[in-house]
C-alpha cells in the first residue's frame, strides 16, 4: 500500500538524518525491501542486559501504521516477556494498544523500557517469569546475565 511505503520512507530519512540522536538504537532498513528492518539495541544499564547488543527483526505489514510492526528478538535473551525460542515479544503496544503515532524508533525505545522493567505476570518465558514471581531476583539476574554474555556480547580478541 502506498501510504505505508511513504510513511516508512519518511522514517527511513528520519533515521538517516538523526543517526546520533539515540545512541542506544540503530535501525537498519533492508537494502531491497522497505518492509523489512533490523535494529540493534543496547541493553539498558543497571540491568542484566547491560553491555549486550540485541538484534531485533521487524516485519512491517502493508497496512502499517494502522497495524503494528511484527517485532522479535533475533538475539537470544532471557526475559519473562520474550519467547526464549522464537524471540516473540509480549508487549501491549505491539498488539491491542498499538497507535499509529508510534514509530519504529519509539517501538525500539519501548522494547528497551520493557527490558528494564519486566512484567512477570504476563510471561512468554515461564522459567524467567517464575523466578521473578517467586522473588528470586538473584536467580533471574544471573540467568539473564549469563545469556547476555553468551549471546549478546561481542567476542573480544
Amino acid at each position: 500500500m502506498q501510504a505505508s511505503r511513504a510513511r516508512l520512507f519518511k522514517e527511513y530519512k528520519e533515521v538517516q538524518r538523526e543517526k546520533a540522536a539515540d545512541p542506544d538504537i540503530q535501525l537498519i532498513c533492508d537494502d531491497s525491501n522497505i518492509f523489512k528492518w533490523t535494529a540493534l539495541i543496547k541493553g539498558p544499564s543497571e540491568t542484566p542486559y547491560e553491555g549486550g547488543v540485541f538484534q531485533l527483526a521487524f516485519a512491517i505489514p502493508e497496512q502499517y501504521p494502522l497495524l503494528p510492526p511484527q517485532v522479535r528478538f533475533l538475539t537470544k535473551i532471557f526475559h519473562p516477556n520474550v519467547h526464549f525460542k522464537t524471540g516473540e515479544i509480549c508487549l501491549d503496544i505491539l498488539k491491542n494498544a498499538w497507535s499509529p503515532a508510534w514509530t519504529l524508533q519509539s517501538v525500539c525505545r519501548a522494547i528497551i523500557a520493557l527490558m528494564a522493567h519486566p512484567e512477570p505476570d504476563s510471561p512468554l518465558n515461564c522459567d524467567s517469569g517464575n523466578l521473578l514471581r517467586s522473588g528470586d531476583l538473584r536467580g533471574y539476574r544471573s540467568m539473564a546475565r549469563m545469556y547476555t554474555k553468551l549471546a549478546a556480547m561481542p567476542k573480544k580478541g
Binding site: M1, Q2, A3, A6, R7, K10, E11, E14, R17, E18, A21, D22, E62, Q63, P65, L66, N81, H83, F84, K85, C90, L91, D92, I93, L94, K95, N96, A97, S99, P100, A101, W102, T103, Q105, S106, R109, A110, A113, L114, P118, E119, D121, S122, P123, L124, N125, C126, D127
Partner: protein, 276 residues
C-alpha cells in the same frame, strides 16, 4: 515450559508514544509524519492530524469492533473522542462523528460508501469508466436520469447535511443547460476543450459550498456520467472498489471484477464512436 500468555494479558509500555525531537513538530501529522494536509482535530483533546489519516484510523478502529463504536482513543494521548472536526474556515467547520448515526441519521450505507470513496486515491476508477471517451462520443447529449439522485446523495455526503435541494438543483440546472447548449460549430469543438469548460463551470458553481472537496467532486461527477450506469449498478462498482483496494488486486484485475458492460443502462449507452 514456554507459553501460557494471551493477548489480553500483555505487558504494557508507557501509554504515550515517546516523541523524539523531530516528531514533536506541531505542523506534522503523527500518523503519516508529513506536513498536515486538511487539518483535522479530535473534539476533546484537540490533537491535530491530516483529515484522511485520522479518518482512516477511525475507520480501522471501528472495523475491529462488531458493534459500532461511538468514540476513539486519540493516537497520541489516548483520550476518548467522539468526533473529528475539520474544514475549518473562518467561523464554520465540519464535523464527522465516530458513530456517524449519532450526528446525522439520514446518512445511509450508500452515503458512507461514497464518503469512503473520497478517502481513497483519486483516479483508481478511471480505467473502468474512461472519462475522455464520454466527451469524445458526446454521450452527454443523452439525458442521464440518475444524475439528480446521484447529485443529491453526493452533496448530502460531502456536507453531512440532509437538506441540500437548493444546491442540488443549482448544480443540476447548470449541468443540464450546459449539455443542451449547442453553440454554432459545437461539433467541431475538441472534446478536451468541452471537458475543460464543463469542469470549470461546475467547480466555480460548487466551490462556495464544497470548498476543498470541490475538485474531487467534479472528478467524481464526471466519472459517474462517464460510467453510464444506473445508480444501483454504480454503487455496486464503488463498493467492489472499496472492498478490494486496487493495491491488493494484481494489475490484471481480479476474478470478482464486476463486468461493467453487463451493468450499463442500455438507454445511456452510445456505441463507442471516435469523433476525431
Amino acid at each position: 515450559m514456554d507459553g501460557g500468555q494471551s493477548d489480553a494479558n500483555t505487558s504494557s509500555a508507557t501509554s504515550i508514544p515517546t516523541a523524539s525531537s523531530s516528531y514533536e513538530d506541531p505542523n506534522r501529522c503523527p500518523i503519516c509524519l508529513e506536513a498536515i494536509k486538511q487539518e483535522a482535530y479530535l473534539d476533546r483533546c484537540f490533537h491535530t492530524f491530516c483529515y484522511c489519516c485520522i479518518a482512516s484510523w477511525t475507520r480501522y478502529v471501528s472495523r475491529q469492533h462488531s458493534r459500532s463504536v461511538s468514540s476513539i482513543k486519540c493516537p497520541l494521548c489516548k483520550r476518548e473522542n467522539s468526533s473529528i472536526i475539520y474544514g475549518l474556515s473562518g467561523n464554520s467547520f465540519q464535523r464527522h462523528y465516530v458513530n456517524e448515526a449519532l450526528g446525522s441519521s439520514f446518512l445511509t450505507r450508500a452515503h458512507k460508501v461514497r464518503w469512503q470513496c473520497y478517502d481513497i486515491e483519486p483516479g483508481v476508477m478511471d480505467h473502468k469508466f474512461d472519462p475522455l471517451s464520454f466527451w469524445k462520443s458526446r454521450r452527454y447529449l443523452q439525458e442521464n436520469r440518475f444524475l439528480q439522485a446521484w447529485l443529491r446523495r453526493e452533496i448530502q455526503t460531502l456536507l453531512q447535511e440532509e437538506d441540500v435541494e437548493i444546491i442540488m438543483y443549482h448544480v443540476l440546472g447548470l449541468i443540464e443547460s450546459f449539455f443542451k447548449r449547442q453553440p454554432k460549430g459545437h461539433h467541431l469543438q475538441p472534446p478536451e476543450e468541452k471537458r475543460g469548460e464543463f469542469k470549470k463551470l461546475v467547480s466555480d458553481a460548487a466551490r462556495s459550498f464544497l470548498s476543498t472537496r470541490t475538485d474531487r467532486f467534479v472528478d467524481e461527477l464526471e466519472l459517474f456520467l462517464a460510467s453510464g450506469l444506473t445508480l444501483d449498478a454504480y454503487d455496486k462498482v464503488c463498493m467492489e472498489h472499496l472492498h478490494v483496494p486496487a493495491s491488493l488486486v494484481p494489475s490484471g484485475g481480479s476474478a470478482e471484477d464486476i463486468n461493467v458492460q453487463d451493468l450499463r443502462d442500455p438507454r445511456l449507452c452510445f456505441p463507442h464512436v471516435d469523433m476525431d
